[in-house]
Amino acid sequence: MHNATHKAGAALLSVEGLTVRLPRLGDRPYAVRDLSFTLDKGEILCIVGESGSGKSICANAIMGLLPGYLTPESGRILYQGTDLLQQSEETLQGLRGRKLGMIFQEPMSALNPIMTVGEQIAEVMAVHNDRPGKARQARTLELLELVGLPEPGKLQHAYPFRLSGGQRQRVMIAMALALEPDILIADEPTTALDVTTQAQILALIKQIQLVMRMGVMFITHDFGVVADIADRVAVMEKGILVEQGPAAEVLNRPSHAYTRRLIDAVPHRRSAAAAEAGSKRGGETPVLDVRQLTKSYSVPDGLFRKRHVVAVQDVSFTVQRGRTLGIVGESGSGKSTIGKCLLKLVGIDSGQILFNGSDIAQMSQAEFRPMRKNVQMVFQDPFASLNPRHTVGRIVMDGQLANGVARGKAEHRTRELLRLVELHVGAFDRYPGEFSGGQRQRIGIARALALDPQLLVADELLSALDASVQAQVLQLLMKLQAQLQIAMVFITHDLRVAANICHHIAVMHRGRIVEEGTPEQVFTAPRHEYTRKLIAATPGQSWEPPRLALAA
C-alpha cells in the first residue's frame, strides 16, 4: 500500500511486513502482524489504537528495544535503506539517540531522579561523543531554551522531582532532540499530562518538527490529538494495521469498521442531554446542597513542621433529582477531594453538606452509616476498586447485606443488576480478575446501584478505559440515570465528556469553582479566563467528528 502513495526509497523510514510473535499462552498469536508503513522526512505520522493494539511494540521494534521474549519473525525496518533488524547491537546503539530519538509516556519514571536535568541532557551527547567540552554545556542551555523551559541557566541544575509533569516531558523532548535525530518516536507523550499542558507539548512538538524537518511517529489513542497534529494516520487493531491515509481522509471518511467505531466513540460537542439542559426543574428541593465546603490537608514540610494545603475552598453547589452536575478540573484542582468529602471518606474543615436537607458533615461515621446507602460512588480505577478475593456476586451483594437485606433477596437483586448493567449472569460466581476494565467498571456501577441510591458520585470513572469502552460505559450510565432518576455528581478532567452528559458544569481551578453554568453557556460564552484556556486546550478543536451510522 505504501508503494502506491510514496516512491520507494524516498521514505525516511519504511516498515515492511513486520511480524512479531507473542509468547505462547498470549491472547493472540501475534503482537503485530504484517505491518507495513512509511514515514517521510518532515511529516507527522500518528499511529492510533486502543491498549493492546500493538502500537508500542511497533515503536520499540524500530528502536530495537523489544524485550527478549519478543523477536521479530519476519519483515524489514528500513532506515535510509539499511535494515535495522539485521544490525548488531553496537550499530543500533550508535543510531539510537543520534538518528532515532524517542519520548516515553511517563515523564515521571523516564528521568533519573538522582541526576540533574542538565546532566541528563549532557549525558545523551556524552555517550555519542558529541560536542565535547564547553560546547556541550552551551548546547544543553540551548536545548532547554528550545523546549521552552524558563531560566535554563538555573533549571539545568534542578533535579527532576522539582519539575512539574509538563516540564519533565519538555526535558525528555530536549534529550531526544539533543543530537538532532532524523526520526522522533513519541509513545503517548501527553497521556499522563493535563489538557492545558498537553496542548503546550503538542504545539512544541509540532513547532520543533517544522523547524528541524524531522519525521515524527506519534503514538496516541486520542483522536482529538490526531486531528490537531497528524499529517497521516495509521489505525491499528489487535496487531494489524487496518487503515492508513492522510489525516483528513481517515478522520472524516473512515473506511474500516474499527476506525468508524473509534471515531464514533469520540464525544461530540453537542448532545441530547446538553440540549435539554436549559429546562430547569423549579421549586424542587435539591438532593444535595453543598455550602461553602472547605477542606485542607496538612502535609509534612521538613522534619518537624507541617504545612496546610488547601484542597477545596468555599465550594457551593446543588444537585437535583435526575440531574447531573459535572465537576471539571485538572489534576490538583481539588475535584476528587470534593467526591471524597461528599461520601465522608475524609473529614471537612468547614461548610455544610446538606443531603435531603440534613447536614451530613456534622454526623459521626456511626450516625452516617445507615444513610450511606443513599449516597453511592463509582470509583476511578476498576482494577483497584474491586476486592480481588471476592466473587462478583459477593461484591455487588455485600452492600445490601450490610444494610440488612435478606440473603436470598439480595442474591436475586444482584442477578437482576448484573443483567441491568449488561453483564452475563454467569458473572455472579466469577472473580474480578476474569473481567476487562470496562466490564469491571460495570460491576462497580452495579455495586453502587444495588442500594438504590439517591445520589451517585462518579470520580473519573472513564479515565482508565479505552475510548470505545468509555462510550459504552457512559451510555449505560446515562440510560440508568434516566431510568432511575438518580442525582449524579460526575467528576472528570475531560471537558468534552462533561459537556456531553452533564446538565450543569462547574469548572474548578486550584480548589475553587471559577465558573459554572449549563454546558452551552460554559462552552459558547466562557466568562473566566481559566475556562477559556481549558476550552482552547481541548484537542481536536477544528474537527467535529462525523456522525457515522454504525451499520458496518
Binding site: 450511606r372 453511592q376 460512588m377 476498586s385 455495586r447
Partner: protein, 279 residues
C-alpha cells in the same frame, strides 16, 4: 487455587520440604506405636553405636535409652511447640498490627511503641529469662516463644493494612456501609494473608530452634523428651559418642530446613510479583 498449586509444585525445593515435613509429622504421630516404651526408660545396653544392634538401629545413650525413641517423641514436642507458639504469636501479631494499621493516629503510635519495646530486647535472652522465671514447662516455653516472636508479625500486618486501607475497594466497602470490623476481616485481612502465611511458616522453624536451644540449656520441660535436651545431655560425651548429639542435631536440621523450603515455596506461589518471574 489451581495456579497456586501449580506454582508451588513447580518449586522443587518446596516439594522436597513438604515430603520431609510429612515424614517428621508421621514419625511424631506414630511415635507411641513404634516405641511402646517411654523414651526415658532404659531399654538396652548403654552407648550402643548406630546399626550395632538390630533392636536399636540409631543406638542408645549413656543410660541405655533408645535414641530412636527419643527422636520420635522429640518430634512431637518440637512440632507441638513450634506450631502452637507460632499460631498464638500470629494471632496476637495480627490483632495488634490490624488495629494499629486500621485505626492509625494515636492508637497506632501507642501500639507501635509497645511493639518496639519488645523488639529492643534480644529475643533469646528474653525467652530464657521468661522460662527461668515461670519455671520450665511446656506452657511457659510456648508462652515465652510467643512473647518474643509476635512483634515482627504485628509490624508486617500493620504495614500491609496501612497500604491496603488506602485501596479503592476498601473505600468502596466503607461507602456501601460495612462496619469497620467487617471491613477488617472480610476485605483487608484476606488480602494480607499471603505474607502472613509465609512469615508464619518461617517463624515455626525459628520456634523449633528456640525450643531446642532452651532445652539444650536445661530449660526444657522435664517430662518431655526433646531434641534440644538430647543434644544437651550428650554434649559431655561429644568425643566418646558423637552420634548421641549428631542424631537429634540432624533431626532439627532436617525439620527446620523442610519448613524453610516450604516457606520459600509459599512465598513464590503467593507473591504475585514473583509469580511472573521466569515466564
Amino acid at each position: 487455587m489451581k495456579p497456586f498449586l501449580r506454582q508451588f509444585v513447580a518449586h522443587r525445593g518446596a516439594v522436597v520440604g513438604l515430603v520431609l515435613l510429612l515424614v517428621v509429622i508421621l514419625v511424631a504421630a506414630f511415635a507411641s506405636v513404634w516405641f511402646a516404651q517411654s523414651p526415658w526408660t532404659m531399654v538396652g545396653q548403654p552407648l550402643l553405636k548406630p546399626f550395632e544392634s538390630g533392636e536399636f538401629p540409631l543406638g542408645t545413650d549413656m543410660l541405655g535409652r533408645d535414641i530412636g525413641a527419643g527422636l520420635a517423641y522429640g518430634a512431637r514436642v518440637s512440632l507441638l511447640i513450634g506450631v502452637t507458639s507460632t499460631l498464638v504469636a500470629v494471632c496476637l501479631g495480627v490483632l495488634i498490627g490490624a488495629v494499629a494499621g486500621y485505626k492509625g493516629g494515636a492508637i497506632d503510635d501507642l501500639l507501635m511503641r509497645f511493639t518496639e519495646f519488645f523488639q529492643t530486647i534480644p529475643q533469646f535472652a528474653m525467652a530464657l529469662v521468661l522460662v527461668a522465671i515461670f519455671t520450665p514447662s511446656i506452657y511457659s516455653i510456648v508462652g515465652a516463644i510467643t512473647i518474643v516472636s509476635w512483634p515482627p508479625v504485628a509490624r508486617l500486618v500493620r504495614s500491609e493494612f496501612l497500604s491496603l486501607k488506602q485501596r479503592e475497594f476498601v473505600q468502596a466497602a466503607v461507602v456501601i456501609g460495612q462496619r469497620p470490623m467487617r471491613i477488617v476481616f472480610t476485605q483487608i485481612l484476606p488480602n494480607a494473608m499471603s505474607p502472613i502465611i509465609v512469615t508464619a511458616s518461617l517463624m515455626t522453624a525459628t520456634a523449633i530452634l528456640t525450643e531446642s536451644s532452651l532445652s539444650f540449656l536445661g530449660l526444657g520441660d522435664r517430662n518431655l523428651m526433646s531434641w534440644g535436651y538430647m543434644i544437651g545431655a550428650a554434649r559431655t560425651m561429644l568425643r566418646e559418642a558423637a552420634w548421641m548429639s549428631l542424631m537429634p542435631g540432624l533431626a532439627i536440621l532436617v525439620t527446620v530446613l523442610a519448613i524453610n523450603l516450604i516457606g520459600e515455596g509459599l512465598n513464590d506461589a503467593l507473591n504475585p510479583q514473583l509469580r511472573k518471574r521466569g515466564d
